[in-house]
């Protein structure tokens, strides 16, 4: 089982750092799925994956030829902290090593004023996940959604949801195919609704789906506001594309695309 990768481009490095910081904000531990073409970060309800474009060198060898993948469990904060020191790095290398315990060694060569370079090495302890648990960590299938809508600016959404959190834990999200999204909370004393208009809907996957459903009809899902906030808080940069898929009374699915990184986030409905 082997894994080596190298990043030399400063922009890719920054991007990778940002992704790992985002992951660190979302969950304490995450699972790294290393496969020949890509690197996936798997968090318990959500999946983020990054492509091979980050790395100038990427070599891996899975457990066996049939199951050519490696699953590693690690503390997300460690990786994010390790990458933070790579602000002005000349090159970054990631390797799977075994120094008394299996770890992911991140080796960063820093730019230095003097001729000699400085090298920072971080050994992040990881746990290799046995093959029998792999099926739990597969990429989830995207369910057929009732409504699919583009999200507003995430920062705005975050500040609104933050204020709502103080009032109630129970948030109702509803959207329709006319580009309207509502965030509602209802308590005994007060009802607050925020309306977002003219958001636009992505083209439907299949044609019949769009025809069946009247554009004004709202699909609604009741979710825990804290989970939504956790997701929004982790977004530092506005994604290239952000879509929200709602399955009435079942699940909310966020599909974000940041250049090369795609993040899928599922929030189940409150029963």
């Amino acid at each position: 089982m082997k894994f080596r990768a190298k990043i030399v481009d400063a922009a890719c490095l920054n991007h990778f750092t940002r992704v790992s910081t985002m992951i660190a904000k979302l969950a304490k531990t995450c699972t790294l799925r290393i496969s020949p073409e890509k690197l996936n970060f798997v968090l318990s309800d959500r999946v983020a994956s990054g492509g091979e474009n980050f790395f100038s060198e990427f070599q891996m060898e899975g457990i066996s030829a049939e199951n050519n993948a490696i699953y590693l469990d690690l503390t997300a904060e460690n990786l994010s902290r390790a990458l933070k020191t790579a602000q002005n790095a000349r090159a970054l290398k990631i390797k799977l090593t075994n120094k008394h315990f299996p770890c992911l060694t991140v080796s960063i060569e820093l730019l230095s004023v003097s001729s000699s370079s400085r090298v920072v090495t971080h050994d992040i302890p990881v746990k290799v996940i046995p093959r029998k648990l792999w099926k739990d960590l597969q990429e989830p299938t995207i369910p057929d959604s009732d409504v699919s809508i583009y999200l507003p600016v995430l920062k705005t959404m975050k500040s609104i949801v933050e204020k709502m959190k103080n009032i109630s834990n129970h948030l109702i999200m509803e959207a329709n195919l006319s580009g309207e999204l509502n965030l509602k909370i209802e308590t005994e004393l007060v009802c607050i609704t925020t309306h977002f208009k003219d958001l636009g809907n992505p083209p439907p996957a299949s044609e019949d789906a769009s025809q069946e459903r009247p554009p004004e009809q709202m699909a609604e899902v009741h979710v825990d506001i804290r989970k939504l906030l956790q997701f929004l808080a982790g977004q530092q940069v506005n994604p290239t594309r952000a879509v929200c898929n709602l399955v009435s009374n079942k699940i909310v699915h966020f599909d974000l695309l940041h250049e090369d990184v795609s993040l899928q986030y599922f929030i189940p409905a409150l029963s």
Binding site: T85, S117, V120
Partner: protein, 497 residues
Amino acid sequence: MRRRGRGFRGAVRGKGTPGRLAAAGETGTRAAGGVGGARRGPAARPSPVGGQARPRRWGQHEVFGHRRQREGARQGRPFPVPHRGRALPGAPGGRGEGGHNREPASPRVRLDALGQNCLPRLPPPPPPVLGCQIGSCHLPRPLSLRTVNSSRSAYACFLFAPLFFQQYQAATSGQEALRCKILMKSFLAVFRSLATVEKTVEKCCISLNGRSSCLVVQLHCKYGVRKTHNLSFQDCESLQAVFDPALCPHVLRAPARVLGEAVLPFPPALAEVTLGIGCGRRVILRSYQEEEADSTVKAMVTEMSIGEEDFQQLQAQEGVAITFCLKEFRGLLSFAESANLSLSVHFDAPGRPAIFAVKDSLLDGHFVLATLSESDLHSPALCSPELHRLAPPLQAHSTPHLDDFASDDIDSYMIAMETTADSEGSRAVPSIPLSPGLRPPCSPGPFSEDHEAEPSTEPGTPPPKKFRSLFFGSILAPVHSPPGPSPVLAEDSEGEG
């Protein structure tokens, strides 16, 4: 007589009347006036600061730095220039007779006027990271601030030359050194916001009021605002440590900036770090984690490797390494970085204290930190597996100077150690209270023998932390050599200072 352009000497000699040890009284033509001294000196000159013309009222030499002129020389050596300050008795900040008349006959020591731009360089004296509540202040000369943390595994000492101050007056020359203990928190609270201090404070006067047991810190700020802080102090025994950087075989020296960048990758919460020389003469800093018996979650290990070229001096062989507390080191490092100084590390075998020193023409700072003894080094060797070295023999000390600061030379000193409160008179020569490898349950065997495995540790108990209590033993009687120091089993105190 104009003394423009004349600098201070390091030595402070008392001139004239007791009660005044003027900082620059070297020419002797002006006797330090006693109380009610005659009006002397040249006619009033325009004060560069306020444009006021005030006559000089007192006779002794004072040399005041002038703020504006000094500003340009901040980075270099501030060259004090006399300026006519306020002279009216009873005027705020009035020195000399005026001051004395206001508070007669108290055992009063005045330490006036830290220069405006010396203030930012006042170190967080000493950093509260050491967890120590107490600083002790030795007057009259040179001013020193010292502290030790409660587990006695870290000691810090800053010495200020009289040059650091615009004016420095001690009490009667016959009076012995004044020492007092001040709560660190209160002292730091006076200088809390450095940015504000830099902007608004023009002058800072520190004086010791023996009668009311108060250390009075007066900040003279802009727009006529004057803040007076009365910090009560306690008398204390002298706090001195035995250490001599010259005895340490290994030295490394680098600009503080290099070391500051080196500790950047380490998490702020990291307690201990190992510093050593690795292959290819590279200096390696590695995070040190204590191994817990049943830890399932291992911690991240970070290692920083710096080439030899970044160091101004590197005198150590490959393979030597010491482990010390990073938090305390960071305190000194941040000060050294802000003052743009070089930091030198003198160390010896693991277990023996490591000395971190910063030096300037105006001040001298030393941090002495305990290091983990060799048998506790669980981390893999930095380069060669051969970390075991012959123990330095327990050498007898040469007689240290028993006076505090017998020499005015603040460059090198060997200070007698005493911690008993009652031994003012009899100061014994302690034998080195350092014997690494000493452990409470075992008899003190020679060091070289037991650097391998731990002695019998009872199963189920965590291994005792082996930070040595460096050099503070209690001296029971002058002739007896003290028993070995009680090893410190507690981690550096984290009590906020």
